[in-house]
Point group: C2
Chain length 364, copies 2
DNA sequence: CTGAAAGCGCTTACAG
DNA sequence: CTGAAAGCGCTTACAG
């Protein structure tokens, strides 16, 4: 069967469709409060009162103002009112994330957005891509835009450059990773104990050769998870085999290649602990490529979409990302409201979700 | 084996850790250009020149200014300079998405961010959750913040409320879905032909009872994809069975429940066309729950992470999301740069990725 | 090359 | 209850 159905033919990319003869042409400039005042025959200040909903305005005047507002299509300029107002609040907060297109980052974004929206606060966000220079650039640009607070998943190993801004009164809350060389609130997952639970789970299923697949060693959470892995091996009296420790696997592709090499080696591990969601994805691909998915156990840190539908389903230690983002936002707003209590490091618990891959037993 | 390894004990949630005695206390107010000028013993205007990198400043004076800037920890206030500058540019654009935590939306965000970053432009973004009221609220708040342009994946069926803003000179570009009742540039996927390709693929594998699993009928892309489904059935001379057409499946959960009911019915379809990524996820779950994943064919619109690792791997018609976002951003900046050519509807092609689920043949 | 004056769009602080 | 004046932090347009 081979045919072309009715309906519009597929169009070439970028082809114009329905060209509109009249493009949007800028008309006259924007109306200001002055213009509204002139049209309504009142003072500028009266317009200001009406626009800001002050109760003490004569009903007649208010009506005239509203008519002028509608007629001129007047839109208040928040930017100008912020400048003059005493508190200088911009009603924007900055959000610095690893990569907005990563599910972890975007879940944080959404959680923060939901809290900010209740207060009429906008989000100005950007991705850092693990680049400390980008971190500093983005921070500077957010400060220049006078955000009222900053939520940061830091890329670099030193946030002391923010000290001055902090002393100027901009609250700072760190998510996912704590601040380095700067006292500031933070909300992070229970990384080290979470890794302990993951590795212990594998040991409990009889494994003694357990590989660690870690993210960039520059990342605090990667360090913590590795520490949990080592702690657990040591406590169980198992040797740490350096050939089973793979660091700096930042992408799914890097993890996939590294795990294929590992499994093709002379003494492959019987179990894998993956330190992060993209690494877990690459590891799943590698196991499949080697046909080892049913004999090599796997526990991943961070949940992965559709992990429960894979064969075998993937056991993970899951973070409560929404809780982390929501908590960070609440703390930030509390600080913006004047809370000056001691800085706190909040730790959000993780949970082991056994699904199958982590319960594969060690060969006798 | 059951033990507790060394290392820090798991902490209770929200427990304070490393309490810092000295909380961040706001110090003196922010330094202004006036303060810098006074300290450096020059005029305000000279400070302005130095800060903005004007070449025509005496080296000695410039050095004094720079020293004062460092000493006072002066940070330029972009918000104030924007107000005075002739062009009134805020160097921010607004981005209105369905849901930032959805992979489709966050991929658009990242693509737009990458283009905006090259120009030093920040992103002010928000989620609409298919709510037309939220769309209007967010648009109003972005306009009040004087964004230089707007990229919109609209939720409602009427964007004419933006006409005035458009005439005021704010460029508007629509992504994923075209603008309704407003002439504006748009960048959308090749929805209807993409659906044709998907359904034809199933027919080519012998299927005659093909179900349509669609998103909210209020969504333009859902309408287009449904139209493509109908076109293809009609052209193939197949009857459209209303019991096989399921609309308004907006979440994975809704899709899962509906597909389970469908498959448990008297005359289940032999193939499924899923109209969107979350629906595909729910459908995969439903097929698995019914044990039907190897006998019921499935083609999904939009790619799904790990779709290639499922059993069977899921055949999809994939959009080039990065291209859509990048193109929308480029068009917006071109408009901001003064391009006043005709409004265009850009269509980005989709591609069929056969992986297994779509190639399951019809029973005899 | 440098600076005093005026003003961006609005709100504050004060008189009437 | 209403409005004329001053000023938020900065840049423009103009003299020197």
């Amino acid at each position: 069967m081979n045919f072309d159905p009715a309906g519009p033919a597929p169009m070439s990319p970028l082809a114009p469709r329905d060209p509109v003869p009249a493009p949007p042409v800028p008309g006259p400039g924007r109306a200001t409060m002055r213009d509204v005042a002139a049209l309504a025959g009142v003072s500028l200040k009266t317009v200001s009162r009406v626009v800001n909903g002050a109760a003490t305005v004569d009903a007649d005047m208010a009506a005239r103002v509203r008519r002028a507002v509608a007629q001129l299509n007047y839109r208040p300029d928040m930017t100008a009112s912020n400048l003059r107002r005493g508190d200088r609040r911009s009603f924007m907060i900055g959000l610095m994330l690893e990569d907005v297109s990563n599910p972890y980052s975007s879940a944080i974004y959404r959680a923060v957005e939901d809290v900010a929206r209740e207060r009429g606060v906008g989000l100005l966000a950007g991705s850092l891509d693990e680049d400390p220079d980008r971190e500093r650039d983005l921070a500077a640009s957010l400060v220049a835009r006078r955000v009222d607070g900053l939520i940061i998943a830091p890329a670099g190993r030193d946030q002391s450059y923010l000290r001055d801004e902090q002393h100027m009164g901009t609250p700072l809350v760190f998510v996912d990773r704590p601040a380095a060389l700067l006292p500031a609130d933070s909300v992070v997952a229970d990384n080290r104990p979470g890794a302990v639970v993951a590795v212990r789970h594998l040991i409990d299923h009889g494994h003694r050769r357990i590989a660690f697949l870690g993210d960039l060693t520059s990342i605090a959470t990667a360090q913590e998870r590795y520490a949990g892995y080592r702690d657990t091996l040591r406590f169980a009296g198992l040797p740490e085999d350096p050939s089973l420790v793979l660091h700096d696997l930042h992408t799914a592709e890097a993890a996939e290649a590294a795990v294929i090499r590992l499994l093709s080696g002379p003494e492959p591990p019987s179990a894998l602990f993956s330190g992060q969601n993209l690494i877990t994805v690459g590891t799943v691909r590698a196991l499949r490529a080697c046909g080892a998915q049913h004999r090599t156990a796997l526990v991943g840190f961070d949940d992965v979409p559709l992990a429960d539908m894979l064969d075998p389903p993937v056991t993970v230690v899951a973070q409560d990302v929404v809780k982390i983002g929501t908590l960070a936002a609440r703390i930030l707003f509390r600080r913006m409201d004047g809370d000056s209590s001691d800085v706190q490091a909040h730790v959000v618990p993780v949970s082991l979700i056994p699904r199958g891959s982590g319960e594969i037993p060690a060969p006798e």
